[in-house]
Amino acid sequence: MNTRLPFALLAVLAAACGGALSESASSGTPERPTQTSATNPGVVPTSTATSGNPAPPSAPNAPNAEGVDVLLCDGKTKANFATGTPGNQIASALMNEWLRKNPDAHWESNERASHGLQPASDNKELVGKASPGQTYGHISEQDVALWKIETERLALAGSRVFHSADELGSTVAVSCDMCHPHAENTHPETYPKFQAQLGRVVLLRDMINWCMQHPVRAEPLSADDPRMRAMEAYIYAQRRGKTLEYGKH
């Protein structure tokens, strides 16, 4: 089984937090590059390519006719630039290279653009309406934005699993969306219900696992498998606004 829920976003944040520069040319006082945008990591001069400890800017380095080696803060992505290349150019070049090696970095926005998602409640009506003297209930715009982003992220992760035979571990190249585009006809609002074909009461996750084992021909997932949690999130998200009617056939 290959669990490949991507956590590349962490890497993007890490990459955005800064870069490491190896100043190997002796060129007087090095100019400190300015950070131009969130995607261009700031370039901090260091004495070696691998060390994260910045050396004093005045430390003399061995002359190198081939320019400057610059290392991204992932500790792996490195490139050589001519002396005097503006910092923002160096930063974008390195970030582009990093993105090329990490094509999944924008999985969340890609997933949203490909398959759409019903929006989570925005809770805007709660902002700034706390009772005086109460801490609980002090809700800011940042709070509600965070809730929405994080909740939708779990559903998007579910959408990604739902639409990928590989993520599901299908042995016959079948994914959920092949019968349930946009999670249509999954009717999570009708569970739990007596599933006549199984002769017992089932939850949505039991039916997900039934599909895993039969049409998808994959291993069933444990109830707390990240893929199961994410798919439940996605399927419920897509039925936003539907009335709960457990037991309905």
Binding site: V172, A173, H182, N185, W210, P215, H249
Partner: protein, 375 residues
Amino acid sequence: MPRGPFKSVETKYMEEREAALTALGRLDRRAFLKVSLATAGVVAAQGIVNPQSFQPIRVASAAEAGKGEPFRIAYISDSHLYDRTINDRFVNSLMRAVDDVNAMSPAPDFVLYGGDLAQLGQARELDLGAQILKNLKVPVRMMVGEHDWYLDMGEKWRDLFGPPTYSFDHKGVHFVVLNSVVEKDFWTARKLTPMQRMKTVAGLDNGMQSSFTVGDEQRAWLKKDLEKLAPTAPLVVFSHSPLYKLYKPWNFWTDDADEVQAILKRFKNVTVIHGHTHQMLTNRIGNIHFHGMLSTAWPWPYAPQGLPELTVQMSRPDPFDPQDGCGDGQITVHPDGLVDKLYNLWNRNPVNVERSYLASKGTRNKPAASTLTRY
């Protein structure tokens, strides 16, 4: 002592069922009642209690009034084949459909293949499909679907089956086959590989793709092809996507459907037979009658919006019955260009949508509706 080859109870049952259904396809409602009564009488007289037997049904076909005789074609559609080593389920389903058609007696005049023979447009998928379809005893007319096209932009498909846009005449009826899955280029700007492009199009709910169209070039061709026909000429159009606008997010939709319909407007009767939707789907827009086809691979759910009023929904498929909601079917083409469309739902009773149902705008001969419709 039995003579000839031994036939199992199941085989006999299937033969009787086939013969009975073939005959029923030619009945109108009044005749059906007569047959039903006669059947009931015979059953009572013979003391037969098995309700599963088709044996007592005998139908004599009557010659159609007007010029020409009605004739029958079969259809198979949307098989979505992977290579046999990856997934044999869809392969077996297509073979079941081929067996169905070969068992039809009398044999149909030809078979329409409704598109999406392959799942990801790969050469070995298309080759496998072509090989299986070679087992058909009657000629096949091929139509292309988006799953056949977007890996190599139809190169392999055209190698195997020829041009995707063509027309022909059969027993006085003019048939047109269109490639209705032409999409605007969404891949170059995004630097997609051919397989990425294919997989984007292959996802029904993938919103990164464009909408299906017939396109200027084919519309011009269609106009020219139909030029010589009188307005009363019977005309049947095959297209992979429905030639109307049902539900855009799944491409149950043709973006230039209005323009195509305008070209067809001057004819008295036009029938459009389409694939892609994997379900019983019936619509009528003015003079144009639309019928969907079943898939051999899997049924799609009905779209959340826009279901045509005349559509009688097929029963909600039972997920525990792997081929439920799938099937193939028959089309009886009448001399006026309208058709009776038989949905041969595997593992269920077939449903016949008669031309009179659409001609009467749903007031006559409504097919029996299922008790279990969509959620």
